[in-house]
Amino acid sequence: MLNSLGREIPEYIEGIGKLEPFQGALTKLRKGWMDEPTIPAPNKAYLPHQSKLCNSLEEAILRSNPHNGMTVSFHHHLRNGDILLVQTLTILHNMGIREITLASSSLNECHDPILPYLKDGTVTRIYSSGIRSQLGRAVALGVLDIPVVIHSHGGRVRSIHTGKIQIDLTVIAASAADCEGNATGSHGKSAFGSIGYAVIDARYAKQVIVVTDNLVDFPCIPLSISQNFVDQVVVVDSIGDASKIATGTTRITNSPMDLRIAKLAADVIEHSGFFLPGFAFQVGAGGASLAVAKFIREKMKAKAIKGSFMLGGITSYCVDMLNDGLFETIFDVQSFDATVSNSLLNNRRHIEIPAALYANPFNCGCITNKIDVVVLGALEIDVDFNVNVITGSEGNVRGASGGHSDTASGAKLTVVVCPSFRGRIPIIKKRVHTIVTPGESIHVLVTERGICVNPAFPELEENLRRAGLNIKDIHDLEIEVDKITGIPAPLEYTDKIVGVVEYRDGTIIDVIHQLKEK
């Protein structure tokens, strides 16, 4: 069957179930409720003064009813410094547990060591917002029989509520925790800031293990994860590689290209009609995205504009803007450096939020619904403004859906920033390899060679033209870039589906086919 973007979606996939095709970004939300029933959270009871402390992660796992076919979940706030996911799966592998469903909020390069477990049947299914590096390559080449499911951050919460992901065991890394399992990421030697993605796991997992390298006296404050959901607590020497978790402050890029794109994007925002007192803003942490914040900060100061809130993945740059009084509040679901942890801990206007509040479409209002302006990246974008942030132009799975479609869907102005080509590969395509965010949610593309406005938003185009910005038709820009780079030979795929890209409402926006190995 075809979804509304013309992508062929199977009706059913063994191991995943019946699929529903994507029909538009807001189509399902217009009903006002979710068709799928929600499942109850686990039913547990503990005796007074019963100890939750375990001597080792292995002991905690042994007490957690490990079994074949279990679903194990993790959060990715430690980014590329995480070591617990690999340790946990190695313990389960050594116990002989097989057919595990891995449900990590994202997977990074540091998780490459689990690749042998995908090959030997220890892990047979994956739900994640992102997959990269060797794992991404292996998934693209078909290492698993059952396709991986790529979800957004908001969509993951929905999947847990509906029981699509039923977590048997979650392992939650915490930079500080007490003996009852009250836990946080906001202080301690391995501080990583917000622990927002793990909150839903703690609520719904049948077994919850908190792992910390910093056991503090009861109670551990703040209660980012609260003890009433935690089964066991493990103290270890280290929860991760501190140098890769969150260090120092995020620096603005020095790349002239990224700065050029960021400057143009800031000009777009300034003249869009949405750069107004009280505006809400989200910006990514990398390359051109963060650099947009630098230019917006200058423009806010110059025009004496004060915003309402910043949201999402939070950098020290966002914290500086809060401290400068440019925004009233930060809502933080994921933090990117050490300064952010300090702010999260000490500034009451810097608020830690769970993924459900951040971006779950099926509740009484997630905060992404209140964004005015969001700046997002892209691996590819097509002439219909559909965006791919999951598969690279070489066909590997190498990115993350993350909050891309969540924020794009909520924002009044979604700005995609990316170079028009990387290396020799054009980024603007007639058709992206994989759609993660539908073009209807994207208002404007900013590249170094020009600005393209989605024709669905003529008023925006008019505003930008009036400001003298260099607006190009996206079809013209695509041709212009092709002239520079040439048109790459198409990738070759088999009929086998190796990935299913879920839109935030649970419908299927695209599938990823197996890449033919050359």
Binding site: N254, P256, M257, L259, R260, R449
Partner: protein, 283 residues
């Protein structure tokens, strides 16, 4: 004016996207001796293949006293970039010889002698001494520039951030350009991370009469533009002066007052220059 090493295809390819008024594809100091042929070939092939958008394209060739200068001219002149930039120009005679060679190449390719211009770089003490000859005698020389690093080397002094050692040269070169009614471009600011220093130096260059500044990194362009672009207030004031001047001229009045300040010919000339920079016409 953005310098781009002539042997860097990625940078050449992106040269036009940064909004520089002019791109300078460099075959001289930015290119190592063993890369000279490759750079020449690359620039020759890319100069017409790449869209540099609104940026003018100039090429800095090697000096004719080197083994590369003539080959550079043979390769580049037929492509007729906006201008050839000639390094270490020391005298009017030298410019005359250079133009003779250029025009011979143009003749062989049936090209006019009045399309491509010449930018003479003043980078030696001798060049500074002879700058008025260089600037004033040739129609094709439409800009002169100062090369700070080479000039200090020639003078056996160290280049300092305050520019003390080249201050006399700067002012002499500016005066020669003004007397010849051609553009004059200031030297590069070498520390790309020192935005404040760049701003200070550019403001000074503008104050003493330079009409632009060369940059070695696209990140420096915005600061230069920021300083050289007239402010809204300057444009409004200039517009008012020129408009009043036209009204008064029509009535046969040469000198008049705005807000009790005398407006005469030099002030009108300056106002017209600001409006030209801002691309504003007075109807």
């Amino acid at each position: 004016m953005l310098y781009i090493p002539g042997n860097n295809p990625a940078m050449i390819q992106q040269g036009g996207v940064y909004g520089a008024d002019s791109i300078l594809l460099d075959l001289e100091d930015a290119v190592a001796l063993n890369q000279k042929d490759a750079a020449r070939s690359l620039v020759r092939n890319m100069i017409n293949a790449i869209d540099f958008y609104d940026s003018e394209v100039c090429v800095r060739v090697n000096h004719l006293s080197t083994p590369f200068g003539l080959a550079d001219l043979e390769a580049i002149v037929p492509l007729q970039p906006s201008a050839i930039r000639y390094p270490k120009t020391e005298s009017g005679e030298e410019v005359a010889e250079l133009l003779q060679i250029i025009e011979k190449i143009e003749d062989r390719h049936n090209l006019p002698h009045n399309k491509m211009t010449l930018h003479a770089m003043i980078e030696t003490a001798m060049g500074v001494q002879n700058v008025f000859d260089i600037a004033s005698k040739f129609d094709r020389v439409d800009a002169i520039t100062i090369g700070g690093q080479d000039l200090t080397a020639d003078m056996n002094i160290v280049y300092t951030p305050d520019g003390a050692g080249i201050d006399f040269a700067r002012k002499r070169i500016v005066m020669a350009a003004k007397a010849s009614h051609i553009d004059v471009i200031d030297t590069v600011f070498p520390d790309v991370n020192d935005e404040e220093g760049l701003r200070r130096e550019t403001e000074y260059a503008k104050k003493i009469g330079f009409t632009g500044k060369a940059v070695i990194n696209p990140r420096q362009i915005e600061i230069i533009h920021d300083i050289y672009t007239p402010t809204d207030e300057e444009i409004r004031k200039a517009y008012r002066i020129v408009k009043e001047f036209k009204i008064n001229s029509a009535a046969g009045i040469g000198v008049f007052a705005i807000d009790a300040k005398m407006i005469d010919a030099p002030i009108v000339t300056r106002a017209e220059y600001i409006l030209r920079l801002a691309n504003v016409t007075v109807g």
